[in-house]
Symmetry: C2
Subunit: 251 residues, 2 copies
Amino acid sequence: MTEARPTLHHLNVSCQPLTGHTKLMLMLQNSQSMRILWLLEELGIEYDLKLYERYKSGKKQARAPDELKEIHPLGKSPIFVTATGRVLIESEAIVKYLIREYDTSKKFQGDPSTNNDEIRDDILTSFGSTSLNMVMMIETMLQVVVKQSPFFVRPLFKALHSQVHSVYTGSELENSFKFLETELGDQDYFMGTNPGCADFILSWPFDYCVQWKFVDLKKYPKLDQYYARCSDRAAWKRAREKGNGYQLVVG
Amino acid sequence: MTEARPTLHHLNVSCQPLTGHTKLMLMLQNSQSMRILWLLEELGIEYDLKLYERYKSGKKQARAPDELKEIHPLGKSPIFVTATGRVLIESEAIVKYLIREYDTSKKFQGDPSTNNDEIRDDILTSFGSTSLNMVMMIETMLQVVVKQSPFFVRPLFKALHSQVHSVYTGSELENSFKFLETELGDQDYFMGTNPGCADFILSWPFDYCVQWKFVDLKKYPKLDQYYARCSDRAAWKRAREKGNGYQLVVG
């Protein structure tokens, strides 16, 4: 009898040619589970990885396969099933669970005697998964709408995009990265000498904003080095190899 | 000498008449700190409340006042300054801090011997602040854009809205509330006999979706009773009296 192992249900990030509204829908529901895969590799634990592909054509094109709904009613990746069979959703909850459960040497939990404590981890985690995520999704949506609109109405959608960009998304993205540059300071990771929950969570908005060119990291030298440092970790490279694609730009 | 007390910097939710793009901007940055005020009242601790109002006119109409930037560079409410002077942002991080620090009798932490444990709290907290929040913000944005657009282009924006609603926001909102109805089950609160972090965090998307009519709670009898139960708590009522307005519908 083999010991029960946890399972990550991982959906691919798709970049195949898609029709207009499918692109929009996909971009709003793109898979964020690469960061879970990264953490699993960092922890070095035994786990099962189940890869899923989106529908390639038909009415459900780009949607997650119905099989995922059999595991959790919301049917979205990531879904993580613990070794005892409990079904977890939501990246943030999964990252926190994994660190609590498996990081017995406390490598990925900052240093509670410094400012790299739970409070800081919570602030930066929430900042990455709510505030920054919201801005980049709204910016993406508007860009996709402009690109997908028929040429005779495109100027209108362009005007809408430029209005929202000038009063909201443009400055918010800039302020967010300025804030992160200051927060990182001279540390290797947001949580100190090793990544913590905040770093795993922030990897998705970082990858997303870099791939969509929402940010030019050359303007933020500390973040630029940080991003290279994360990408250079052996666990991240293994995660990229095991996952089924990570091309986040749609359309 | 009086003992140092923590301070909540609370920005009002505005509903004054606004111009088009200001409405859009405001709706994307509405204040979410009522839930912090609620929790502070539940905890029954001594704290200072500093109320802020948005600019009423001029180029900065509807924006948060610059004073907030003196407390934290991102200048967004809620900002919570601890009794020792540490500055916290992000609702989720503030709720977690307050519960850890002040809920010494563990009233608001579920029951770790049941399924109302930290894992469940994390899942529902993240679901409220990321997944559900994203869908409702995108739906709001589209509705405001339709309402604010000049009449001769309104049909185009309506078509865009109806497309996104049919493939994404409509079904996502429905699935989200179905999921929450099941998750609540026969409990009084998501975290058991008392609210927990997840309940405090979910109060914002609940209020928002109810006020914007994104959900008809009559279709979800358990959630409907739950919502009434939360609104009926003495601490919630005190929070509403102390906060400066809570009308979330803009436009």
